[in-house]
Symmetry: C2
Subunit: 456 residues, 2 copies
């Protein structure tokens, strides 16, 4: 009976909040090396907490390539399903710190919102999943095997966990992965993310003359690497949003009519608000597809940064020797990040104009992910999670990427269940991050129900 575990959780509301506050108070910024001791301290705090409070005494710090991981497992019966619970305990930097209205690492409750860096991303949801395990263990109701794998580098590249999952796939073997690190499309709308895009993130370098030239001496006869980048970027993507990379669209897994209808509905529902939030009056791009289809289920190419030549104040008539651009493709289910990288690299080199050498370096890659809507685990998750809300569960395809989810998909071949507890206005990665506190408790209860039903 999950009721006992739910009652336990109810009785522990205050303690569970205090535990969350304690976890938040450790400033575990993984992207700044000065804070790495704090990331390690957080890992140690979690190990102690899992041993003494959650109730799994084999919890341990696992040394990673860079920062440590936390691992624990409770195997109750090898014939029962195994759930791997994933979360991350590192946080984003706090700059610009002057915009915070409360101290970033002193959790502060204002109304129902708990303000602090890491509150919603991802300490609150991560601890909620652990608190569900605690509640089930404390009441002798845990009916699945649980493996807990937490990382401290989600905000800075996930290097350690990537190596660990690839190496320890056998030890991490599981039937399902539970991830609480996504959002809800709006308040009180339970949201399960069942698809994510992959990514091929590159840096394109264009090199011309052996040194900077003066346009008075070489203007009109020397190659210009910035102009070369403009030509190539323009050739790669047309004004209609179409990406001119032969082979790219052929890899795409077609959407069903049902998928497409959902995306059209979501576009109608969410499009205007998204447009307003960005200060836009239209969504330029592939007009023949709905905005949500483009944003979640079509490959897209974006230039994220570009730099070359003289960028100071005033004028300088240099023809630079080099220019660079950061260019990524978001990939939809069916597309392979390495294959797309090879296509892009070959295409850019072929498009390089006379006198300019171009190279494409892969900075980051990740595969798209898709859990079909008819997967049985989704039904179980939706029941467990939907019980908290009066509105029906919304299934969304995410436009972004969660590289670790693709990693689990690849190495563990286990479906990732992603239950969202973050709100669009939670200021993730920004000043005044917050967590809607009722969702902390809802997350605990949802996970109790989900784990309980999986073991039933």
């Amino acid at each position: 009976m999950s009721q006992a575990a739910l009652s336990y959780a109810e009785s522990k509301r205050d303690a569970h909040l205090e535990d969350l506050k304690a976890l938040i108070r450790i400033p575990s910024i993984s992207g700044m090396s000065d804070y790495h001791p704090e990331v390690r301290r957080t890992a140690e705090w979690l190990v102690t907490h899992i041993r003494t409070t959650i109730g799994i005494d084999n919890a341990k710090v696992v040394e990673g390539v860079a920062l440590p991981l936390v691992y624990a497992e409770r195997i109750i019966d090898r014939s029962k399903p195994t759930v791997l619970v994933y979360g991350h305990f590192d946080v984003q930097p706090i700059d610009p710190v002057e915009l915070w209205k409360t101290p970033p690492f002193e959790p502060t409750l204002v109304g129902e919102s708990l303000y602090a860096r890491g509150a919603v991303d991802d300490k609150g949801p991560t601890l909620a999943a652990l608190k569900a395990v605690e509640s089930l263990l404390a009441t002798n109701n845990l009916a699945v095997n649980v493996k807990i794998l937490l990382e401290g580098e989600e905000e800075s590249g996930s290097e350690s966990i990537s190596a660990y999952v690839a190496e320890k796939a056998a030890e991490l073997a599981c039937d399902y992965v539970l991830i609480l690190d996504t959002g809800m499309i709006d308040k009180d709308i339970p949201t399960i993310t069942h698809s994510l895009r992959g990514m091929t993130y590159t840096e394109i370098t264009a090199k011309g003359a052996k040194g900077d030239l003066h346009s008075g001496g070489y203007g009109g006869i020397a190659p210009n690497p910035i102009q070369a980048l403009a030509w190539v970027l323009s050739d790669l993507k047309g004004r209609d949003g179409h990406i001119n990379l032969p082979g790219l669209y052929e890899m795409l897994r077609p959407l069903s009519d049902e998928d497409r209808a959902i995306l059209q509905r979501q576009s109608d529902e969410r499009g205007p608000a998204m447009m307003a939030a960005a200060g836009l009056t239209s969504f330029p791009g592939e007009k023949q597809y709905s905005p949500m289809e483009r944003m979640t289920s079509r490959p897209t190419l974006e230039v994220h940064g570009i730099v070359g030549g003289f960028i100071g104040e005033g004028s300088k008539t240099v023809i630079p020797a080099e220019a660079k651009a950061k260019v990524s493709l978001r990939l939809a289910p069916g597309q392979d990040s390495m294959k797309v990288y090879e296509l892009l690299k070959a295409r850019v080199k072929a498009l390089a104009p006379e006198g300019v050498e171009m190279d494409v370096v892969l900075l980051n890659g990740g595969e798209p992910l898709l859990l079909p809507l008819d997967a049985p685990v989704l039904t179980i998750a939706a029941e467990a999670y939907g019980a908290e809300f009066s509105q029906p569960v919304e299934y969304v395809r995410g436009g972004g990427s969660i590289p670790v989810a693709a990693l689990f998909d690849k190495h563990l071949k286990a479906p990732c269940v992603m239950l969202g507890f973050g709100l669009p206005d939670d200021n993730v990665h920004a000043p005044n991050e917050k967590f809607h506190l009722p969702y902390y408790y809802a997350a605990i209860r949802s996970c109790i129900r989900f784990l309980h039903r999986l073991g039933a």
Copy 2:
């Protein structure tokens, strides 16, 4: 007779060198405000020198908008021609200072080269012109009216002289302008620059959403200002070097067959060395025109700098709200910098893609300049200057711009005679700047002959 003046100059070789060294020792870097007192000290040194040594006692410091000018005049007879001598006494910064082999502001003679910042650009040639006036005055041979106008902001925008020439055109009225601030195409080849390009230098700004967006949330539906710049830059200039700016080429003054033949010959002679110097194996661009024609007598469009989005190490999936590019057109005789700016601005705005607002701000403008090869003063200058060399005078069109020359052309309507005494390897604007010292004396003698013959 110029012989007396030439003999005087010969007798003063040592003194003239010491005067140059004294002038060089004042570190008059106009681009760094810490050195502005030194620029002023240089102006004061010149005023004293012109009064006591050159022999014009009305020399004065003229306060400019920013840094001071130096002015002096000797009117001998209003029926005689008047020559305005221009030069600049400010210098470039000395960074990277560790690459200098001798102290930058301690003139050091190594063989025939005098090493120091400002030695050739432009203290040596400027003082040489003054020494010619000194030699003519000292021997009672000055037969033209002389006006001397020197500036201390040539390396930092020429703001003061620009305002001064526009305001004082009547007082500065002259028949010819003598400028010693150009180069020779090779050692011992006397080089007269008779044409310069103009310039329209702009900054193009592209603005999309009201703030930076995340490509996970908006990739495929939001406008991307970097991509927009790529489209527009690509539309503005084709891979064939043609600038797609309707009206631009129509303004161009056609070249004569003779002009074109000279440019073809110079391309054949100088092209391979220029290619090698830049580490290039070809000159991409408008292949139907010779390289020297393209570089000096065709308009060209170059992107000098570009910046937008994330340019740090690693990857960040931002869709930036804004991107900028510095774009200039070099203009050939016949083209008007403001008209070209208006054409460019209108065209860029017309090419801006959906969702992106683009603006074009003029940072800098200057007009092209052309002294036709059959101008009588060129013949006089070539005789006076060519007497120093065994090879015939080469007439070149410059690809760059000397804004002050265009200014004299516009406000004083006087032809600019530009005699070159700098060598291609003089390291202008770079560490180890030098002046081939024999050309200091050759410059003094050339100016003595030129001024003498103009008054004959």
